[in-house]
């Protein structure tokens, strides 16, 4: 069998990569791009030969693999490498992982929505297998034998007849000249032959992290670099009225003071208005900022108070509003019901607070710009910086550093645009450093929300009728000058996609005014919608004197797949996956429930003041159940144990999935126990970790993670652990105390 010779256009046609923007870059213009990526990332010149966009091999037998996704602790860098390396069949020690520049040829690099593995699993396998096939072709050519006579394994190609061997390094040059194989002719490994996929491979940056050798956004250095610290108008769309920078300019190290441009409407990722102090070091820039005297014109948003806004949302959801999903006739259902229960919930504004605040360096030269950023989305930086500078995207070169956490914050390109603006204005390379205060006060906030739920139950506790209403400012407000209402993708996160059997259903939604930048934070609208949903389910179970696990089992009902369009006339985005590939499957909810009931005895008689709570939620096409045990004594809430069961389909790295679940439990606890951003007179009140508190070690419970492995397509991992935590916790507090808390965070009611 000989590999079919394909020209590039044929290849694209056959591979389908053209449609997704992914391209095997053998012997094309892409090679140059790749070479420059490699140069930027490795000091030693091993002259690696480029086999495709993701795989290059040096004559020294080093394997250079591109990771095109951002690494922020979720483990994609390791996971992507595992997938390519497995199909390529190489030794792990020989791999150099190179961070890809911003480049559309890779496909989407937006490391957001828990997509790295689920969107790229198949394509990365093909990349590895394709390069392996090229190595085999090269060996066959070298030995002048049929392709069938050679086999690549463990980084050597063997002649099966003579037993001769050539290493990948020996073959690299010849392999790079081979035609790119037709993807349909590639044989992918059998699962049983995987050597990295499904294994707890250690994170690729582990050695550097424990020796302090990592480069995050804040760590980028270059000759002549200035550091900028910016004071941004505390109220969005406000601006500088007058500025006295004389004291600031006197501080040793301060080089320049530059006014930022007026904030655009919509704000998108454009810089906020304010004043930047540029200095030769961070401390001088910070001191310079403190010394600025600024009078602000705070603008129209200075009347905004989150307390009033949340009260208004709570009013809004009491009355009928826009229907976004419907089945049967809810009024008729309620009329028939034996019991009718209603409740209202609220979750405040939240902010990401990644350990490393946003950081970006830019160097503008002529109409080009080079950027180094701890960014989840280099392509967004390319697009929006090009706009800002009035140039084209091919002139913007973006290096992605390691990210010191992100949680959605660093998917926004604003801080790179600030750096680009300041570099252009100053003529110098500029690193924009966000302080913690900046991060907490000028972020892209998770929107505060209110939700109303009403259910009618029959004699057997079955749901006859279900009415729900929700209100919050939409993420779309950041991107559109007009309020276009809450968007389908927001409502598709645990609101329009319910998995329960119910005769009649109606869902309504009404957006609210946005007076801060609204963004997406780890698990997005699932946060509030899962909190209301699973708290309410628990309330219904208690109303029927049935344990919540039993009640859940009953309302999941018959094993089936749910199509929200057919069931509720709700156009469901399914996290941009086809329902055929990633269905909403009752059996998978049930499996998570079964796992938790095996691990936890929910009927166990507990000492007074203790209780278990449970919530199971599907998001980012994965299913996560959380059982939380708490103890409440004298108004003090202590979280004792958390069990988390996850079905995310095929698991690439069980250890990183486990660590993401641990992290998600802790992230969920932070927001459920203490997370709250207040806005007064248009400005954020909190400023640092003393008043925007996040979980510390003493508050951390025992966490037990249970993976439910199966052969389904990989689902998301980074986000889906978060949503079920808060409701499971509030449900546990109810079980422990009989008090139902419907507004987060819980430190409003109890010491935590």
């Amino acid at each position: 069998m000989k590999a079919v010779q394909l020209n590039r256009r044929d290849f694209l046609k056959y591979s389908g990569f053209g449609a997704s923007g992914l391209l095997l870059g053998c012997a094309t213009a892409k090679t140059n791009m790749l070479a420059s990526t490699l140069q930027g990332a490795t000091a030693v010149d091993t002259s690696p030969e480029t086999l495709n966009l993701f795989v290059s091999i040096g004559s020294d037998n080093r394997i250079h693999l591109i990771n095109h996704r951002s690494e922020m602790g979720q483990g994609s860098k390791t996971g992507i490498t595992q997938i390519i390396a497995d199909e390529l069949d190489v030794d792990w020690q020989n791999i150099e992982v190179i961070q890809g520049l911003g480049n559309y040829d890779y496909g989407s690099q937006n490391t957001d929505g828990s997509t790295s593995i689920r969107s790229f699993y198949s394509k990365m396998r093909e990349m590895g297998a394709s390069a392996k096939r090229m190595l085999e072709s090269a060996a066959a050519q070298f030995w002048q034998v049929d392709l069938a006579q050679v086999e690549a394994k463990n980084q050597v190609v063997i002649n099966k007849v003579t037993g001769k061997q050539l290493t990948y390094g020996d073959l690299a040059e010849l392999a790079a000249k081979q035609p790119v194989p037709d993807v349909k002719l590639l044989t992918l490994k059998n699962e049983s032959d995987f050597k990295f996929i499904g294994k707890p491979v250690a994170a690729v940056d582990l050695d550097d992290i424990v020796t302090g050798n990592t480069v995050f956004g804040i760590d980028h250095e270059m000759p002549g670099l200035l550091t900028a610290v910016i004071v941004r108008c505390p109220v969005i769309h406000g601006k500088v009225k007058s500025l006295d920078d004389s004291a600031a300019r006197k501080i040793p190290g301060v080089v320049d003071v530059i006014q930022m441009p007026e904030t655009t409407l919509p704000v998108v990722f454009n810089p906020l208005n304010g004043v930047a102090v540029l200095a030769t070091n961070t401390w001088a820039a910070m001191k310079g900022r403190e010394a600025l005297k600024i009078e602000w014109d705070l603008g129209k948003n200075q009347d905004y108070n989150s307390k009033d806004a949340l009260a208004m949302m709570a009013e809004t959801v009491k009355k009928p509003t826009k229907v976004i999903g419907k089945k049967g006739d809810v009024d008729a259902g309620f009329a028939k019901a034996k019991t009718v229960i209603e409740a209202s919930y609220s979750v405040p504004f939240e902010v990401h607070a990644p350990m490393e605040p946003p950081m970006s360096t830019a160097m503008v030269t002529g109409d080009s710009c080079e950027i180094w950023a701890s960014s989840q989305n280099p392509q967004a930086i390319m697009k929006h910086t090009a706009n800002l500078l009035g140039t084209t995207e091919d002139k913007i070169k973006v290096h992605v550093t390691l990210l010191g956490g992100a949680f959605g914050r660093k998917a926004k390109a604003d801080y790179s645009l600030e750096a680009a603006f300041l570099s252009k204005a100053s003529g110098k390379p500029v690193k924009v450093v966000w302080t913690r205060e900046d991060d907490i006060q000028s972020g892209y906030f998770h929107a505060g929300s209110a939700q109303y739920m009403k259910a009618g139950l029959d004699d057997n506790g079955g749901i006859i009728s279900w009415l729900q209403r929700v209100s919050y400012p939409s993420i779309f407000s950041t991107f559109s000058p007009k309020d276009k209402g809450i968007q389908g993708f927001e409502l598709g996160m645990g609101y329009g996609d319910l998995p329960f059997e119910m005769e009649n259903y109606q869902a309504e939604a009404s957006s609210a005014r946005a007076a801060v930048r609204i963004g997406w934070m780890r698990s997005v609208c699932n946060i509030q919608q899962a909190f209301a949903l699973h708290s309410f389910v628990d309330e219904l179970a208690h109303s029927q004197n049935i344990s919540t696990p039993k009640f859940l089992k009953a309302i999941y009902g018959a094993d089936r797949k749910i199509n929200p369009k057919e069931e509720y006339n709700f156009k469901y985005f399914n996290y941009n996956e086809p329902l055929k590939k990633h269905a909403i499957e009752i059996s998978r909810y049930q499996a998570v429930l079964d796992k938790l009931t095996q691990e936890v005895n929910f009927d166990e008689k507990l000492p007074a003041g203790q209780g278990w709570g449970i919530a199971i939620h599907r998001s980012f096409v994965s299913y996560v159940g959380v059982a939380t045990k708490v103890e409440v004594t004298n108004g003090q809430l202590k979280v004792l144990d958390v069990h988390c069961a996850i079905d995310c389909g095929t698991v690439i790295n069980p250890d990183r999935v486990t660590s993401q679940m641990e992290g998600a439990m802790i992230f969920g606890l932070s927001l459920a126990l203490m997370g709250k951003v207040d806005i007064e007179n248009g400005a954020v009140v909190q400023s640092n970790f003393h008043d925007y508190q996040v979980l510390r070690m003493s508050q951390t419970p025992n966490i037990h993670v249970h993976l439910i492995p199966n052969g389904n397509y990989p689902g998301g991992v980074g986000e889906p652990g978060v949503p079920p935590l808060a409701p499971s916790l509030a449900n546990a507090v109810f079980a422990a105390t009989g008090e139902r808390y419907r507004t987060l965070p819980l430190n409003k009611y109890l010491s935590v």
Binding site: G73, I209, N213, L402, G404, G405, E662, N688
Partner: protein, 156 residues
């Protein structure tokens, strides 16, 4: 401005810095030692933890003037090869997620084990309470400290 003499990881340095500049920025911006991280600038998160004469301090709020004639130890001075029992325990437990807080975590853990080789759970929690990990690696940090404690005990 007079030059400030510093001893960092057993090497002597001379820096031209105002005395009120926090050690964090002297290390990072003037001496290009980037292992010590900035997380809050207010002594609230522990990312910037280094040792001053063996004691853990928050370098973001400690002016460099204080460090004259003292010994500073940073993450780069623990063991460049990553062979310290704490680093090994960190690796064996796959502790880090994003890694950003971990320099500070390791420096706090090191100081705990130096003063208290066999810490109880409460000792660990107390010593690590000032170090935030937003990614949520606390359970693994705790385990790694226990493992390192055991390893150091059998070594000594």
């Amino acid at each position: 401005m007079p030059m400030i003499q510093l001893n960092i990881n057993d090497k002597n340095y001379e820096v031209d810095a105002p005395e009120d500049m926090p050690i964090l920025w002297v290390l990072r911006d003037l001496l290009n030692k980037k292992g010590t991280k900035f997380g809050c600038g207010k002594g609230l998160c522990g990312s910037c933890t280094v040792h001053l004469n063996g004691e853990p301090i928050r370098s973001c709020v400690t002016p460099v003037g204080i460090a004259k004639n003292s010994k500073i130890k940073t993450i780069e001075g623990v063991d460049e090869t990553g062979a310290h029992p704490i680093q090994i325990a960190w690796k064996e437990n796959n502790v880090p997620q994003c890694g950003y807080c971990q320099s500070g975590q390791i420096m706090s853990a090191l100081s705990l084990l130096e003063s208290n080789p066999k810490p109880s759970d409460d000792d660990i929690t107390n010593a690590m309470q000032g170090n935030i990990c937003r990614c949520g690696t606390y359970p693994r940090i705790k385990q790694a400290i226990k493992d390192a404690s055991k390893a150091m005990e059998s070594k000594s």
